[in-house]
Subunit: 336 residues, 2 copies
């Protein structure tokens, strides 16, 4: 038991809860015996779902939580008032050392607030960023920060750069990851006040491979592995990525229905087109880690199906094995 | 002559200058006798190009300018030092009332700097924003500001909203255009410091149809006609639009070459696909106006061909006819 990674899973969070979440948890323990899951939610409902599957009963424990936080609830209020919600109960498991990590497809706001208020930050970490993986032409890049705390300071961005670099190197296996800061031009004199103040600090970081500015146009081409920005800009990038992709796909589909010729062609290209478009969807690439907390929090997309939940759970194994939090602590202490 | 719109055109600016620029100018005067063009650039070169075409000689005048500003030159320096460049000479024509408008596919930085330093802002306008049209599922939206001046103040954003609204209503013919501010969430309490300070000011504007926040995901769907943001964020949106589009198209093309089946299909869908993708390219929708100046400046995409130059020139007719600058002046005076 001592080597297992204990993951608390929010059985009630996301558009497809509890069905897909429970399935994802079962698939994870059937895939790896390194995983032990604490499935948190309304016990009756969760147990009813679990009955459908065959798995090693000792690998999944159901923890009762009678309340559910909805996506549209104001997060700070929800975390404070709903003490018996799946998110709060699961986060307390991480806080008390009864779980190593927490996976949720529920309210992003509540997960972010709970992470800071309940689990708490690693000593020395000023802000805990949310860092989704963006699909690119070459694979994926880590976009850090897309969290709820906007108007970051230069020192925050420097910590984001370091934590993101550790994550990409150790969890995603990218050697010497290229770190870039989002800017409105490639030249060093470009930028708003925040970027101008941060740029020289990043240049002086000896522990990261800082390659300078990245213009938004270059993000999808995979020009950098770690893309550093303040959360407001990160939110715009993440959501525009999804928006342009979705709209373009819808327009292409509509366009192909315009003539008989293209309709026939559409039938032939469908499988290839589907594969390409799938690889470019942000939710296809596992959950977004919230870094710098005393434990790992993985935010899975709200529309997650079982496969994404399983992937998010598997991510936690590498995170623990690679001792990411220990590396973040060391790194921040060494440099400060 | 008194009713003609006089447009100074930068014959030397852009990737395809002077060939496509000169062709675009000729096409414009052949299309509308309301246009008179002052084609600014190295006279020998421009005249040599003009020889290729048939047109009413009185409608195009060549103005000699011996210098050229390259895209990579630092803009402030270039505008100050290259007094005989096509951009500086053409902008002086607008300043001195010898032209109503200026169209350039040259250095965006130099055009923005020159607009402010040479032509100057309409009295009461605090900042002159650059406002490109973004393709959406429903048509186009005006993204304001994508200029060079970042870290705007709330009062700037309010002026952008008003000027953008006037432009969309009068030049693009959108009745009662919906104005939204880019935000990291749909709820009113969301936002960074700038957005939070600007939101109530926009809500109080009686002269615009303010519909609240817009998340980046909704931009491509055409949820708003005028999209207000600070220039750093605007730059990220504009460039990411181009980047995601370009990468997705490249990946689709590559994906279709993967099997014989999809290769055959690709041949059949090619024309339909091409049309759809074309309608989603930012450079397809005419030049970006720089608003709030004593005269109109239209920045055409660097890769502009003749057709885009012609479109940018035609835009100037409506701008003058609709007395946009007079409306901006009135509007700002009435409200302040």
């Amino acid at each position: 038991m001592q080597d297992k990674v204990v993951v608390a899973v929010d059985a009630m969070g996301g558009d497809n809860a509890p069905v897909e979440i429970v399935k994802g948890a079962v698939d994870a323990v059937n895939k790896s015996n390194l995983i032990k899951i604490k499935l948190v939610g309304i016990a009756d409902v969760v147990e009813e779902e679990l009955k459908k599957y065959t798995y090693d009963k000792s690998s999944i424990e159901v923890i009762n939580a009678t309340e559910v936080i909805a996506t549209e609830e104001p997060p700070v209020n929800a975390i404070r008032k709903k003490k018996d919600s799946s998110i709060v109960v699961a986060m307390n498991l991480v806080k008390n050392g009864e779980a190593d990590a927490f996976v949720s497809a529920g309210s992003t706001g509540a997960v972010l607030v709970g992470g800071q208020l309940i689990i708490g930050r690693v000593k020395g970490v000023e802000r805990a960023p949310l860092a989704p993986l963006l699909p690119t032409k070459k694979g994926v890049s880590l976009l850090i920060d897309c969290g709820a705390n906007v108007d970051a300071r230069p020192s925050h961005l420097v910590q984001f750069a370091r934590m993101g670099s550790i994550y990409m190197e150790n969890v995603m296996g990218v050697k010497n990851p290229r770190v870039a800061i989002v800017n409105n031009g490639a030249e060093e004199e470009k930028g708003n006040a925040l970027v101008k103040a941060t740029f020289p600090l990043l240049k002086n970081c000896t522990d990261i491979n800082f390659i300078g500015s990245i213009e938004a146009r270059e993000i999808p081409s995979g020009y950098a592995d770690v893309i550093v920005c303040e959360a407001f800009v990160g939110n715009v990038i993440l959501k525009l990525y999804e928006g342009v992709g979705m709209t373009l796909v819808a327009m292409i589909k509509e366009g192909l229905m315009g003539s008989l010729r293209s309709k026939i062609g559409a039938l032939l290209v469908k499988p290839a087109l589907k594969n390409t478009l799938k690889s470019f969807q942000t939710e296809e690439h596992g959950g977004a880690p919230m870094l710098g907390l005393n434990g790992l929090v993985v935010k899975s997309h709200g529309s997650s199906k079982a496969i994404e939940i399983t992937n998010s759970i598997m991510q936690c194994i590498t995170f623990k094995e690679q001792q990411i939090n220990e590396k973040i602590k060391e790194n921040l202490i060494n440099e400060d």
